[in-house]
Amino acid sequence: MSKPIDHTWLTESHTFSRPVIREIQRAAREGIYDIRGFGAKRKLPTFDDLLLLGASMSRYPLEGYREKCDTAVTLGDRYAENPLTIDIPITIAGMSFGSLSASAKEALGRGASAVGTSTTTGDGGMTPEERRHSNLLVYQYLPSRYGMNPHDLRAADAIEIVVGQGAKPGGGGMLFGQKISQRVAKMRNLPPGIDQRSACRHPDWTGPDDLAIKIQELREITDWKVPIYAKVGASRPFYDVQLAVKAGADVVVVDGMQGGTAATQEVFIEHVGIPTLPATRLAVEALQAAGVHRKVQLIVSGGIRSGADVAKALALGADAVSIGTAALIAMGDNSPEFERQYNALGSSAGYYDDYQAGNDPAGISTQNAKLSKRLDAEVAGRRLANYLRCLTLETQTMARAAGKSDVRNLEPEDLVALTVEAAAMAKVPLAGTEWVPGVK
């Protein structure tokens, strides 16, 4: 029997840590980069690095459970005949049928509708179940145009032109063959079982000048009825948001690098784009510079988890937030209920991120009929609605504490930062000081 090793005397390299060594060994063995779902897992500056200043002597708080604190937001009232009014400032982000099961899409619709907010289609088109169960449905107009048709376009309550997403600004997608069921294949006009590439650029326009004409086209086709959003992955939001506004978007969606994905290269998820915190501030500055803050609405997404996140995003100037990963978790993703099954896949509840593989034990990121059956759309929809209600109540709690009768009355003045980095990114003072790094 070999002598036990005393690890006290072993030094682990910071540069070549055990996970780094393990990844080099995996790459050498498999010859291909790691592709996974979920979102960025590295430590990033987040809304946790900000604090809200509650009212006291100089500000009056509002009575919790009693005094009104409005949460409704109207989106896209710049040009559209029928702007969208959502009852809570939280929407469900675009996730495709294909990456998600039909029952998961249905559950998203049920949960969102129960609390009066919108859900969003994804790459792969609109399913009838999704339309039926979503009172307010935003139709994503994506580069691949999988399943894209004018009937569904006109059936939508809003259109979101996707330029990019936070998990991979500048990148396209891949839906692997194991998730291409007969139904998914038919919707996308491709043979079942083959890997499907989702393009990174739109096939019929390049640049903001073309986008202006594209937006006009979509307005013409839908008779100027529904709002048109433009969604960008957060890279250069100050410029991208202004260009989207100039092109005529009614709503701009900015997705930070913590935004989720169904299948993206690990290197892309963790190393491209900027976090939601600085992206929010830059997007608001862009709208202010263009003179359209609150006229063109801003939705931010990427790593929103709690009402605290929502309140802080709104305080920085966003009109609403969008959630994806958190919504899936609320529905049952990464639930300890499936610990044994996660273990069999070499993972564990709380760590599972192989959405690309199509064998999700929770029946969410799969097209496997047996697995999808594990997700009861009604139950999952109820869980999502509960979670959305919690987020809303938390947001209201924070807004009332700051003396606001509408969650969108929260403002940067209500915030301070815990770290120098967050203070610089959010342009709010470091707590206990008047110092805003880079400003004064």
């Binding site: 498999e30 010859g31 291909i32 040009y79 691949s144 145009r145 894209m148 048709n149 004018p150 376009l153 891949m174 692997f176 063959g177 996308r188 006009n189 491709l190 043979p191 083959i194 890997d195 590439r197 393009a199 096939p203 019929d204 326009w205 073309d210 202006a212 004409i213 594209k214 937006i215 006009q216 086209e217 307005r219 013409e220 086709i221 839908t222 008779d223 100027w224 100039k246 092109a247 005529g248």
Partner: protein
Amino acid sequence: MTSRPQQPKQTKQTKQTAPTEFDLRDAPVRELNRALHALTGSRLSHSACATVRVVNPGGKHNIAVGADVDADIAIDGHVGYYCAAMNQHANIVVRGNAGPGLAENMMSGKVMVQGDASQYCGATAHGGLLVIHGNAAARCGISMKGVDIVVGGDIGHMSAFMAQSGRLVVCGDAGDALGDSIYEARIYVRGKVRSHGADCVEKPMQAEHRQELTQLLQQAELGVGELNLDDFRRYGSARELYHFKTDNAGSY
């Protein structure tokens, strides 16, 4: 910046069966599109279908987009971006040249351009027939999903990029990287192909291919009798890149 269009003034519109004329020098494009959309659901037999004439298009964008009616729409002049986009059922003729994105995402019907078409014509189109009498620029038929496209002249580079299904017939030459990453679409080229894109290969012409080529040329009214089918070659997917493998990394 975009501005909300004015409410339309009804111009010379009469009964559906009578020709309706839109002079785009005076009338906004919105008025034309609104009138076309108003015809949706009133699909008539072809002999009694609506006839719409558009004059002085002046290269304007988004002319006759989102039509969903069995109508004959004739446009006398040049059109800008996205003319006939998402067309369903309508038979649209452009007596001039067309700007980028002609008939993008068309679902059905027929769109014919008597001049040349700019880039991305027929992009992502799901069905119907698109005919260009002249040349088509780069990325003709990009991501096509079931449409048939017949081009009388040449096509530019990266045409039929990621083409999923449908047929593309080119009576002239094709530019660089034809059919790059093509899926199940079929391409017929009469002239030279400057280069093939990744996974696009020449395939043998069988009787069934000659037959479908003949039909497409006939439907396009491009004078099949004057063209020798033996001059055409067929191109399609080698299906080597259908599954993402590290061994293929050099192909992309």
